[in-house]
Amino acid sequence: MEQDLISKKELLELTGISYGQLYRWKRKNLIPEDWFIRKSTFTGQETFFPREKILARIDKIIHMKDDLSLDELADVFSPNLAELAVMKEELIKRNIVSSESLHLYTEQLGDAKVFPFEKILYVYILDQLLRTGDISLEEGKMLLRVLDDHYPKFQSKNGELVFIRKMGVSAFFLLSTPADIYFEPGVKVVTRLNLASSIEELKIKIS
């Protein structure tokens, strides 16, 4: 899979940030190390970035840096799960997840008064996929089982959720990224979800 890349020079021209800012954000872990891709060009080795990811990230940093300090921003972008919990009623009231998804979750994995961040993430991912219509309720149960069984093993690593269908049979995968995955032609990849960006979205929603 050939990624769409952007060179460092082009990135700075496009966003108007300086080299100093870019290096500062890198030091503060606002831009992950594995986005810095080195490639040989005719002028020597140059640095490239995954175009969409880096542009979205820089846009977010620029818009949020007035309200949050760089260290607080780093927490938002970190793939580490935040140490926070939200009351069950609040999840519905603040429209973080839908009551249908939450109901499915409690049915499968048990009820609780207070939801820690990790559990909210599961419901949030479920909620998103149900909303887009990518998965059915039955598949939602499968998704919860995958996340509950295997997601804790990821800890601070970045991961991706892949959902495929073939001949009416569906399956979920959890990959640690960066990784390449290839399927035979009969497989339909229904959805690929970057867990780090889901975590980011959710952290912004909750805080």
Partner: protein
């Protein structure tokens, strides 16, 4: 980072110690620490070897230190010679003498009087490098970058008769906002305000706002971006 109070490590003479978490760690003489060391306050005098990673609040190295793994410290001061087998990350880095880092080195402020060898990226908000002897860095990135040639008289390194040291920095890429360079050999320098001082050999300069070149500098090509 609050470690157990009163649990200190003290090594003096010729001795070995095991790693661990301490409040204060003091190593004098010829000391060897086997394993990772984690402490609030680290002081090394003499010749010390740590066979593991080091995490410290404030670290002070006098003499010669070899760290096999990576190191992180809020403030690291080196008087003498230090070699880090992994990367370094911290807030303040101050070197009088020589520092070698095998991977990336990052800090908010980095002041070096002497020489460095960094095989990865040197990334710091402010970099002040005063050259006494040869330095080699793969890449430098930051906000304010200043490289100057130190005067011979105040060299912190020992001077030997009949041996002449050249003071030069060799680097592939330098990228920053404000850049001032002397005695630097680089492939490419990119920045907003770039000043190339005496003794430099730069293949290419790319700048956004301002570019100045000393008579005693050689610049292959320069271009306003």
């Amino acid at each position: 980072m609050e470690k157990q109070k009163g649990r200190d490590l003290k090594v003096s003479g010729i001795a070995n110690a095991s790693g661990g978490a301490y409040d204060k760690a003091k190593i004098e003489g010829i000391g060897k620490v086997h394993g990772d060391l984690d402490c609030n306050d680290l002081k090394m005098d003499g010749k010390c070897t740590i066979k593991g990673n080091v995490k410290a609040g404030v670290a002070d190295i006098d003499g010669m230190a070899t760290i096999a793994g990576s190191m992180s410290a809020d403030k690291l001061t080196i008087d003498g010679y230090a070699s880090i087998g992994g990367g370094f990350s911290g807030e303040e880095l101050e070197v009088e003498g020589y520092l070698s880092v095998a991977e990336n080195c990052q800090a908010e402020t980095c002041v070096i009087n002497g020489g460095v060898t960094i095989s990865g990226l040197l990334n710091a908000g402010t970099i002040q490098l005063k050259l006494y002897g040869n330095s080699r860095v793969k890449e430098i990135g930051g906000e304010a970058i200043q490289v100057k040639k130190g005067s011979k008289r105040f060299s912190p390194l020992p001077t030997f008769p009949f041996v002449s040291f050249t003071s030069k920095l060799t680097v592939d890429t330098i990228e920053g906002d404000e850049i001032y360079l002397e005695a630097t050999q680089a492939r490419i320098v990119r920045g907003n305000h770039v000043t190339i001082g005496p003794g430099c050999e730069i293949e290419r300069v790319e700048y956004r706002e301002e570019f100045q070149q000393d008579k005693g500098a050689r610049v292959g090509s320069h271009e306003k971006m």
